[in-house]
Amino acid sequence: MGQNLIRVQDLEDNPTARVPVCLCLDVSGSMNIIIPGTGRATNEQRVIDGQRVYIAEGGVSRLDEMQKGIESFYETVRSDPQAHDAAEICVVTFGAGGAHIACDFAGVDRQTVPRLSADGETPMGEAVNLALDCLEQRKKEFKEAGVDYFQPWLVLMTDGVPNGNQQALEQAITRTRNLANANRLTVFPMAVSEEADLATLSRFSPKRPPAKLKNMNFKDFFEWLGKSVQQLSNSVPGEKPTLPHDNVDTWWEI
């Protein structure tokens, strides 16, 4: 009976509120290191990204696992209708040639999962600055288009020590800290190997200590991240959703 009062075609179809997620990923040469137990070491040695390593035959590299992780992140996000419409993913990498946008913010529909390759150094500061620039640009576009958005997430993953421009690194740390302290950014600092610089990672994140990824288990982390996007995008506005930092302990144990 109320259909005469209000019909579907009379209503505005406002866009879904977005969940911006920026992945800032280390693709320095050391990400090619083969995960122990998966390949066969030869006697040949080489220095890659500041580390002396044996050359291996076969095996699965850190990068391979990270690639699989990102793919499962996209899969998890795409599998939920609400998260599918809400998620906006950006991938910035740092390695050979400096910081690089592998995939700029857009709906997951219009994105293909970027294929990453690893080489070179660890210019982390430059990459975080670039990631934050992308985020600012996207937020500006949201505002202009009248699209609501949630507090953005920045995932920062490294297996090494930043060795880019020192000034850029300090600037990136200050920018990130200021946003996080003002509750305008949620930062997930991740150390993916024992060699990762935990001290620098923790400087990026005033509210949460860096987490260590155990056993190169990228897949579990990214699935958890995807589930968190699902939860946030399905939450009722104003509701305090179970954000990653609320249930992070369940994941931190991995």
Binding site: I6, L11, E12, R18, D148, Q151, S235, V236, G238, E239
Partner: protein
């Protein structure tokens, strides 16, 4: 002269989780003043629905009781402080009864009160307030979201005084005011252009015309089936509209509104003449008449069935056998 109506319906999110509806509406009237209030309980508050009920009721009664006093006071800050103090006092008492903290009763607040001359509008938090004046629908107060989608200000927030908006004005040519929670806003407020959807004009005019016993179930049905489909959130709407003269519901309306009621296209040829004829037929049907009598009275050569059918379909007149009569007159 003002009529208030509205409803709050549970959203898909809360229904799934078995939680109560956290949107609430409340109304009050007295001394020629009517008030409509809407409160959206904060999702993060433990007893949000209780807080919303309490805030809406207290605000409605307070605005009616202190209407003239508030409008006469030029110190807007003092007015806001008094209103918030009254709300917080009542919420504090409720919190003690419920054995919870004040913040567990957090809600937004959207309110309107009016008498024959003036109106008063209050807005804190998200949701949107619109008004219909001279046939035009405009936004009075846009949603006050923080930067992020799930953040806004509540009655219990520390910055409530700063964020509370208060408006006053004359009622001349104002047909009605509409209050919407953020759930309803998703369907009726175009965020990019910051404008309201035109269908609200129809909703407001129906609200003015149709008795609440009929209108409210229609509104609840429309909100439940159509509006809640656009969001996970609870949806509510509250209206304060100029009540229509029971004897002649169309008498006080302007040409555009009457043309819409009679189904006349405004820019069609002879629209004015058709409107005048419809007005006259409608007036003539204060008493029961046959079609023949109508045709004779208005020199209609080829029958008046089409015109009468339109008025019948809109519910302005009723037909009983061969006899036509104005709907409100027939009810008595």
């Amino acid at each position: 002269m003002w009529k208030t109506t509205g409803c709050a319906v549970i959203g898909r999110g809360h229904e799934k989780e078995g939680l109560p509806c956290q949107d609430q509406v409340a109304f009050a009237a007295g001394g020629g003043i009517a008030a409509a209030v809407l409160a959206d309980g904060a999702g993060s508050a433990k007893m949000a629905e209780e807080g919303a009920i309490c805030a809406a009721k207290i605000a409605a009664n307070y605005l009616v009781a202190h209407f003239h006093e508030i409008l006469a006071d030029d110190d807007a800050t003092a007015v806001k402080e008094q209103l918030l103090a009254t709300l917080k006092h009542a919420l504090q008492e409720r919190a003690e009864e419920l054995d919870c903290a004040l913040r567990d009763l957090a809600s937004t607040l959207l309110a309107v009160a009016a008498d024959d001359e003036q109106l008063l509008i209050v807005h804190l938090g998200d949701g949107v307030i619109g008004y219909l004046k001279e046939g035009e629908l405009r936004v009075v107060s846009a949603p006050d979201n923080g930067e992020f989608a799930n953040v806004t200000t509540f009655v219990t927030s520390p910055d409530a005084l700063v964020k509370l908006r208060i408006y006053r004005g004359g009622v001349e040519n104002v047909e009605g005011i509409v209050l919407m929670s953020d759930g309803t806003e998703q369907s009726f407020y175009q965020k990019q252009q910051r404008r309201l959807m035109p269908r609200l004009v129809h909703v407001m005019r129906e609200a003015a015309l149709v008795d609440n016993r009929v209108f409210v179930p229609q509104l609840v049905d429309a909100m439940t089936t159509v509006v809640t489909a656009r969001t996970q959130d609870d949806c509510s709407i509250a209206l304060l509209v100029r009540a229509i003269d029971e004897e002649n519901p169309l008498a006080g309306k302007d040409d555009a509104a009457r043309m819409e009621a009679f189904g006349i296209v405004a820019d069609a040829p002879c629209a004015r003449r058709r409107l005048r004829l419809c007005d006259e037929i409608y007036g003539y049907l204060a008493k029961p008449r046959t079609e023949r009598a109508i045709c004779r009275r208005f020199h209609i050569r080829f029958g008046a069935k089409k015109k009468l059918a339109r008025l019948l379909a809109k519910g302005y007149i009723v037909k009983n056998g061969d006899i036509y009569q104005r709907a409100c007159a027939a009810r008595e």
